[in-house]
């Protein structure tokens, strides 16, 4: 049984145009429109897509800082989306999140020790000070920080260290599910590798299930078991990580993969590049039918028709009837 099962998740935001009357109904922005995927215990699902594709909104809906406007978030069989705020609060310790901007995610007025201890003190206020100190020290050591840094403040640390503090805070309650919202995109490449490897080690040791969000496919394929490719709040392609990265089917996935540089000048020069033109359309007025058709190199007239386009092939799902398998190196 999957630990997390997302079914037809919808997230909409109300957008008020400037200068409108208070009683005019706001326009709906569909940030996430009908997202479904499963996460097996101990595995990692990678969410990829360019900026504005709704990845972070999915993370926020899963962790509960943004309300889901439709669909189900089944965590161990219980629907998180349907819970009252009080009920939900009790489940929060099982689902924790690592944030994109390491420094902004830490309160500048609190010491590192207080930051890491906050989930512990919140969910178990009866814990003795010595016990809190011990567990904070343990987890800080586990993420590769010296425990004697507890009295320091976030601005005294580097980006990579701040991200380790963020990970320590997320893991101090020993959650079952960890949501990483672009945890490495604000770090430089050498530190990225350290943090990704740390996350993999922690996942193995603590039996974590993970959702890993990134706009960089090369990072995601390194850590994920399954990959979900998103565009404008919808799934374009999903499947096992190797299948999606090595044999992309959807034109959007192919374009994403072609944008990852190959660290070999000869191969890099030789391969053709289908470059995506234009900008992401506004989610306030998404294109009819297939949302990707305005930028798709293979768009046909009937792509504008609203219909179910999902094609299943083994474990892979592709939302395009004109999909064809391409080798990752040849796209």
């Amino acid at each position: 049984m999957p630990i997390l099962s997302v079914k037809d998740l919808q997230v909409t935001f109300d957008v008020r145009s400037a200068g409108s009357w208070p009683w005019t109904p706001p326009r709906k922005l569909h940030a996430v429109g009908g997202l479904s995927f499963d996460l097996e215990p101990g595995q990692t699902v990678g969410l990829v897509g360019e900026s504005g594709s709704g990845k972070s909104t999915v993370a926020r809906a899963l962790v509960g800082t943004v309300p889901a406007s439709g669909g189900q978030i089944l965590f161990e069989g219980q629907d998180l989306a349907a819970m009252s705020p009080q009920e939900r609060r009790r489940h929060r310790k099982d689902v924790q999140m690592v944030f994109q901007d390491p420094l902004a995610a830490l309160n500048p007025r609190m010491t590192v020790g207080d930051i890491v201890a906050e989930p512990l003190v919140t969910h178990h206020p009866e814990t003795s000070r010595a016990e809190v100190k011990k567990r904070v020290g343990d987890i800080m050591e586990r993420v590769g920080l010296l425990p004697n840094l507890v009295n320091r403040y976030p601005h005294e640390f580097s980006g990579g260290q701040c991200q380790r503090i963020g990970i320590a805070r997320a893991l101090v309650m020993k959650p079952k599910l960890l949501i990483c919202d672009e945890p490495v995109s604000a770090l430089d490449v050498s530190v990225q590798a350290q943090v990704v490897n740390l996350l993999r080690d922690l996942q193995r040791d603590m039996g974590l299930s993970m959702i890993f969000i990134a706009h960089d496919l090369s990072v995601v394929k390194h850590i994920s078991d399954r990959i979900v490719v998103m565009y404008l709040g919808r799934i374009m392609e999903s499947g096992p990580a190797r299948e999606v990265t090595l044999r992309p089917r959807h034109p959007y996935t192919q374009a994403l993969i072609s944008s990852v540089p190959i660290p070999d000048p000869v191969l890099e020069k030789a391969r053709p590049r289908p470059i995506l033109e234009g900008e992401l359309p506004s989610p306030l007025s998404p294109p009819s039918g297939c949302v990707f058709r305005t930028r798709c190199p293979k768009a046909k007239p009937d792509c504008a028709e609203p219909k179910d386009r999902i094609q299943r092939e083994g474990e892979v799902q592709v939302a395009c009837p004109y999909q064809e398998v391409k080798d990752a190196l040849a796209v």
Partner: protein
């Protein structure tokens, strides 16, 4: 053996490492503030004025409400400031010792200023932070209430209150407390709006921290810098406000006095050759205000987020 001593040294070093203290943003700000000469001078002057107000009474030869009838009508030449007579600052129109009265007036004026600022800080910050953090309709209702309260000309309301319910310290504090927090709540709300979208607040929400705890633990400490600056600038505003009320003759009641009341009485005698009645209270009034403004300026520079 050598190895063992090396190990011992390493252990020593590790033990020293065990107690690394961080430099908080507050400590940084304190350092910047203490390097600012004008602000430091302002703080020293404030401390001196506070000492004067608290302990000056012990040096006075007369009680503030003791009337020396022998001086009546002879103030201009027999009530002049002098050390021999014990009237260091001279006497006021009624023949009372001006030194003792200035001590009392300074104390009451500072009390009014500090109480007003304190009410502003506690009520205004919590009110504004709550409105800003909850947002939506609650925010609208709370802030429109503030708008309505602000649109009432409070000086008239306060004067009416003092006339109807009688002039008393309590009424004055009530009146000052009623208006002082309005501006503060707006400032706190504005800051909260930007703080609540920071990721560390989201992290706290995701952790499951209760909204009120988030306001107290994550929002308020981060807007305190601006609140402190504003409140040090609010204290002199409150003192001026009280002085104005007292100047109109509605504030502090006799035999109690405040700097505003003393200045008022001194100004009435300006043409009678007894300028000291105006000069001494005015000196303390101005020095206190300037000191507060310098301290406020220094705090603003020290806590300025752009400096971080």
């Amino acid at each position: 053996m050598k190895l063992a001593s090396g190990d011992a040294k390493l252990l020593d070093e590790t033990a020293q490492l065990a107690s690394i203290r961080g430099r908080s943003l507050w400590a940084d700000a304190r350092g910047r503030f203490l390097r600012n000469r004008a602000a430091l001078l302002g703080l020293i002057v404030l401390v001196l004025v506070a000492i004067f107000a608290l302990f000056g009474g012990y040096f006075a030869k007369y009680e503030p409400d003791y009337v020396d009838f022998s001086l009546m009508g002879a103030n201009a030449y027999r009530g002049v400031p002098s050390f021999e007579s014990g009237h260091y600052f001279g006497v006021d129109f009624d023949g009372r010792d001006l030194f003792a009265r200035t001590v009392q007036g300074t104390g009451i004026s500072m009390l009014v200023g500090v109480v007003g600022a304190l009410v502003a800080v506690v009520v205004g910050t919590l009110y504004g932070a709550t409105a800003g953090y909850i947002g939506g309709r609650v925010d609208n209702i709370m802030m429109r209430t503030v708008d309505i309260l602000m649109s009432i000309p409070f000086m008239f309301v306060l004067i009416l209150m003092l006339v109807i319910f009688g002039r008393s310290m309590f009424m004055l504090f009530l009146g000052i407390g009623l208006i002082s927090w309005l501006d503060m709540s707006r400032i706190a709300r504005g800051q909260t709006l930007s703080i609540k979208n920071k990721e560390f607040v989201e992290a706290a929400v995701a952790t499951g921290v209760r909204p009120f705890t988030i306001i107290l633990r994550h929002v308020v400490p981060n807007l305190l810098g601006i609140v402190i600056v504003y409140s040090t600038l609010l204290v002199p505003q409150m003192i001026i406000f009280e002085s104005f009320i007292s100047y109109l003759g509605l504030g502090i009641q006799e035999p109690q006095t405040s700097l505003g009341a003393l200045i008022n009485q001194g100004a009435e005698q300006m043409n009678n050759g007894t300028l000291w009645m105006l000069a001494f209270p005015l000196f303390f009034f101005l020095v206190t205000l300037f000191a507060f403004f310098f301290v406020g300026d220094g705090l603003r520079d020290a806590l300025d987020p752009k400096d971080r």
